[in-house]
Point group: C2
């Protein structure tokens, strides 16, 4: 058994020197190195943006969509949509574990991979014959490879699979929100500033990452948690759940209106921590203006523009810390599943969103 | 005298509800509101990307470049290049100060504006007659408006104007590096972890923001400061300056090579703080891999891709904090000028870069 690179660079066919995500092509050879894990694949979950692009490009023709997904996987050795640059995740059973794998997985375990399909070596053995191309969920057979520095989560027994997947898909958000809120408390104690209690505003609070972020803020003992949603329908979904202390409706892409609404709800001050979970462009300036001096903005939306945030804060002379939402925090999967288990209202919100059936 | 919005939204002509930076058009009316400041303009410094675009579009025809810049300013009420989305900064003399301006400026002071020209109301009165269109430096006459939440720095008497401008242009970087390094010390003391001394790696260390970041890291008592540069010429520029403890040559866009070089230089560990000042795309993954678990990456390069950073860290299972480099930190201008004054080698590096003459 050979030794691999923990980041999987030994699997890169081209271009030389690239990491697996940046690579054109990976080698999905089923033989694993000492620190790799082989997964027997049961289902792919294509990223929503990727599936939407394929659906549009082929006018909704399921057969053509299926043929293209198969062609991408065969050509690239991974499901990496070249147009959207995105992938998705997969579910399967652990098939073989290298003796030096640090992932703690055991053969037979049912797992979801938490690293993107854009960097996961993948081979399909059934020609996607069981998929009609009509949904993002792709039942299939084949194998996938995890590297030393990969992440996979064991699927819990007590949650329907599709619900667990929906939670795991955004599990980085609550873990990072907890860390940011708790760190503020540590810093305040350390420098003996006037330790006012931390307020948290979540933009896009009724969505998957948004509602988990609300629960994490509460769990981290934020003094006041504000849910910002786009309309009355979403506000009604959150009411009575206990996830937020206040619920307000505002357009996150209208900076002045958003900032005024947030400040009104928080007694005239911006939020100490603002969490951006709204997946549309143009929320940067509103989030910055809604945050108190010395506060932190955590951007989870992939629609975030780096220059808009950097130049926006400078242009507004806003002394705020701006974090790129890292999807990986140690223990993130367990924490998100714990929040769901501990909070029936949150679980109901997820069920409303993803449906009851598996 | 009327009351304005501190972020200048009362100056937006269209579209309604936009902030000045996002606006198509601003109103440069010379009459100021209670918290505004009027500047008598002496020189514009067009952003390098903007000037390059104009130069290319007009095949280097100075007359045509001048006509287009004038047309942009007249049409938009600000120098906001619609193609690049960028602006620049300006120098002038304080002409009038509203009674409620919080900026602390006095009439007659010579200042540089530190907010982008993309959000600064501007009127030109001399038709740019003194500019030949052949350089980014535009000598002119006219007036500009600063809002309540703007930033301007008084130009120091003891530095040539062009040198001061070069320093002010990147002054957010050293202030944020100092803050991040000092915060680590506070946190380590607070949680009583094994408080190993902080190591800092600066990518693109020979440039303007890079060399100031080196000086700030030293000033903040980093235990080890590593300069990463692209070639031997840049390495030679830094040698003997005392700005870095180690100087290494590596390609920041080659993730594995960069990470190995950084770890070798730092005794087998990634940096606690990695500062990205390399203005080319594709440095995100290398920066993440060069950073120790629990460390911080500060992205100052405008070429940073938000999704590449967010998905890259997740794909590498890298538990690192990623900061969007905010160009505004209180006291940033004074701090950068102080570093230059206190460090003759740093000043010489800047003079080498921007030339001796004014």
């Amino acid at each position: 058994m050979s030794t691999g690179s923990p980041v999987g660079s030994h699997r890169v066919v081209s271009p030389a020197g690239a990491l697996p995500q940046a690579a054109d092509r990976l080698d999905p050879d089923p033989e694993i190195t000492e620190d790799e894990v082989r997964i027997s694949v049961e289902r792919l979950n294509l990223d929503a943006a990727s599936y939407r692009q394929l659906h549009t490009a082929h006018g909704g023709d399921g057969e053509a969509i299926r043929a293209e997904v198969l062609a991408i996987i065969e050509r690239r050795g991974k499901m990496h949509n070249p147009v959207t640059g995105s992938g998705g995740m997969l579910i399967g059973t652990v098939d073989a574990v290298g003796p030096r794998s640090p992932l703690g997985l055991k053969p037979g375990q049912k797992v979801a991979t938490l690293v993107s399909l854009t960097l996961t070596p993948l081979h399909i053995s059934d020609g996607l014959a069981r998929w009609d191309g009509d949904s993002e969920q792709v039942p299939t057979s084949g194998h996938a490879i995890l590297f030393g520095r990969s992440i996979a989560a064991a699927l819990p027994d007590d949650l329907p699979e599709h619900l667990a997947l929906a939670v795991l898909d955004v599990c980085g958000a609550p873990a990072l929100v907890r860390r940011v809120v708790e760190r503020r408390a540590v810093e305040h104690r350390a420098v003996e500033r006037h330790a006012h209690a931390t307020t948290v505003a979540v933009l896009g609070a009724a969505g998957k990452s948004g509602s988990l972020s609300l629960a994490a803020a509460k769990d981290a003992h934020a003094a006041k948690v504000l849910a910002v949603v786009r309309d009355e329908i979403e506000a009604a979904q959150l009411r009575g759940t206990g996830l937020a202390d206040h619920i307000v409706v505002a357009d996150a892409t209208d900076p002045l209106d958003l900032a005024e609404t947030v400040q009104d709800a928080l007694g005239g001050r911006g939020a100490d921590v603002t969490v951006v979970c709204v997946d549309v462009p143009g929320c940067e300036h509103g989030a910055i203006l809604s945050t108190a001096t010395g506060g932190t903005v955590v951007f989870f939306s992939m629609a975030t523009s780096f220059p808009a945030a950097a130049l926006g804060a400078e242009g507004l002379a806003a002394d705020v810390e701006m974090l790129i939402g890292n999807g990986y925090v140690p223990g993130h999967a367990e924490y998100a599943l714990h929040l769901i288990a501990a909070n029936p209202h949150l679980k109901d919100l997820f069920i409303d969103r993803v449906g009851k059936e598996d």
